[in-house]
């Protein structure tokens, strides 16, 4: 079982690395004056080679004090805090909206188009406004960043959970009606458990979106800390190694988030005897 899964992954990774090295050589050729070895050791390469990113990543994590501005861990922690706060806020809002949409028919028609429209506004355009508005109210730092992150992450939750809450079929609803179960009861014993199958995929998308939101939120704040700030500074100074290391950290962050959701999902599946 394990072998059959590990092998394809390893092969895919090997192919990816190979292509990456090839691309790095090709893209950095001119800058390295046609020196093959030099294409993989430039200080500001167009496309760094994988091992360069790995070294930069190592140096800026293990090679720094955690509270240092040069530590990628420090920046990741800053981003993670707004990502987690934004995720929590987004999930709370998403669940609340989903419950409202399913139980109040008027809201379904009145609110849903706006919820969908909210996601058509580019977050890059919206983020600075959110920062300014909250700043005017004296709220800076974590709050506006979490709000931007929540803005992206509530959406998959509303859509997925609303669908899940509507998943029970006529028969199951009739069954509870014969017991004279009230709305609240129908929600707790039928709708909410039915929504689990839809909740977890939504949460995975939401936590990834929360990471993006947290990073994007750091761009307009002129923040000095956070992975977004690192990316911005890196691109400003053409520090491609720094950019790529920050990107690697960002994907690590998102992946850990998704991993945590998967873990939670496994617990629920186990409590249900092996099926969601």
């Amino acid at each position: 079982m394990k072998e059959s899964r590990a092998l394809p992954i390893a092969v895919a990774l090997a192919i990816l690395l190979l292509l990456w090295y090839a691309a790095a050589v090709a893209l950095n050729w001119t800058q390295a004056n046609g020196d093959l070895l030099a294409t993989m050791s430039l200080a500001k390469p167009l496309l760094p080679a994988p091992h360069q990113i790995a070294v930069e990543f190592w140096n800026s994590t293990a090679g720094q004090r955690i509270d240092s501005k040069r530590s990628l861990i420090f920046h990741a922690a800053v981003t993670a805090s707004s990502m987690l706060a934004g995720f929590a806020l987004g999930v709370a809002i998403g669940l609340l909206l989903a419950i409202l949409l399913v139980h109040v028919r008027v809201l379904d028609r009145a609110l849903l188009p706006w919820i969908v429209a909210s996601q058509t506004v580019p977050i890059l355009a919206l983020a600075p406004m959110i920062v300014v508005v909250f700043g005017a109210a004296g709220l800076t730092g974590l709050v506006p960043k979490a709000v931007i992150s929540a803005y992206l992450s509530f959406f998959p939750v509303v859509i997925g959970v609303a669908k899940g809450l509507r998943a029970p079929d006529r028969l199951q609803l009739d069954l509870l009606h014969t017991y004279d179960a009230g709305r609240r009861r129908v929600f707790t014993v039928l709708r909410w458990p039915s929504a689990m199958r839809f909740l977890f995929p939504s949460l995975k998308v939401a936590i990834a979106a929360a990471t993006v939101g947290a990073i994007v939120a750091e761009l307009p704040t002129g923040a000095e800390s956070g992975l977004g700030a690192r990316l911005l500074a890196g691109s400003y100074y053409g520090q491609t190694l720094q950019i790529w290391a920050a990107l690697a950290m960002a994907s690590l962050l998102a992946a850990s988030g998704v991993g945590a959701v998967v873990l939670l999902e496994r617990l629920v599946i186990r409590a249900r005897g092996g099926r969601l």
Binding site: L171, D174, Y179, D180, V189, P193, R272, G273, G274, R275
Partner: protein, 255 residues
């Protein structure tokens, strides 16, 4: 409590321009096993749903246990077994059976005890901890019967409960159901498409016809209590089945 469990007079149920039920007069006495049989679309499910207060008649009157279907539903006077088991897949068999008890607020110990007893009576005691999808279709339907019985209703409404099962399984469940009915003073209103099933189980067979859904004939069974599956080879059984078949055919030539 009155001796009549269901009393329908001139019952009508119209969906748009479809007369699902028309002029239904039906009396189900306490302890009766009444089967509803008729072609698809003749309103069998509709009639059951009216009795269960899941559908509102557009005309006529109906009493369940001497009160309105609504009051009977609130009093949890009946258990409803649907055509599909409708078990909640995230609950174990036992917790599916305790679901109605949970909703009426019985304490946990009593819920357990009752579920145990009902699962025993449908032969599923060993499967209490399994999940529905780990059971065969026949076992799932038995679990749904146990669930319907857990509220200890006086009336059991069953809508083609064994329609999706193979014949052998269905025979077994029919016998079980018959024994259960004989051992209790349960009243059963049972929908089926099968003449054999209706003839074997019922004390009375209500033959219906479609468009509009109406009752063609009510046939009293003269088969003895305590019968078993072998009775289906007897002349009396054949005669009964023949009467049902004839009535069905007569109903068919109606519309």
């Amino acid at each position: 409590m009155s001796d009549t469990t269901v009393e329908a007079r001139g019952l009508d149920l119209v969906f748009g321009d479809v007369a699902a039920l028309s002029e239904i007069d039906l009396t189900v006495a306490r302890g009766d096993f009444v089967s509803l049989i008729g072609p698809s679309g003749c309103g069998k499910t509709s009639l059951l749903r009216v009795v269960a207060d899941l559908a509102q008649p557009t005309g006529g009157t109906i009493l369940v246990n001497g009160t309105t279907p609504h009051a009977a539903r609130l009093a949890r006077a009946y258990g409803y077994v649907f055509q599909a088991p409708a078990l909640l897949p995230w609950r174990t068999v036992e917790r599916n059976v305790t679901l109605p008890l949970e909703i009426i607020g019985l304490p946990k110990d009593e819920r357990r005890a009752r579920a145990c007893q009902q699962l025993e009576s449908v032969g599923l005691a060993a499967f209490a901890r399994k999940f529905p999808w780990q059971l065969s279709g026949g076992m799932q339907q038995r679990a749904s019967i146990a669930r319907a019985l857990s509220l200890q209703p006086s009336l059991l409404l069953m809508d083609e409960p064994f329609g999706a099962l193979d014949e052998i399984t269905r025979d077994g469940l029919n016998l079980r159901l018959l024994r259960l009915w004989e051992a209790t003073n349960l009243t059963v209103l049972f929908v089926t498409h099968s003449i054999e099933e209706a003839a074997f189980l019922s004390s009375r067979i209500v033959v219906m016809s479609a468009r509009p859904g109406r009752i063609v004939e009510v046939i009293e069974s003269d088969l003895p209590r305590g019968r078993d599956l072998d009775i289906r080879d007897d002349a009396s059984f054949h005669a009964l089945a023949h009467r049902v078949r004839t009535a069905l055919r007569a109903g068919h030539s109606y519309g």
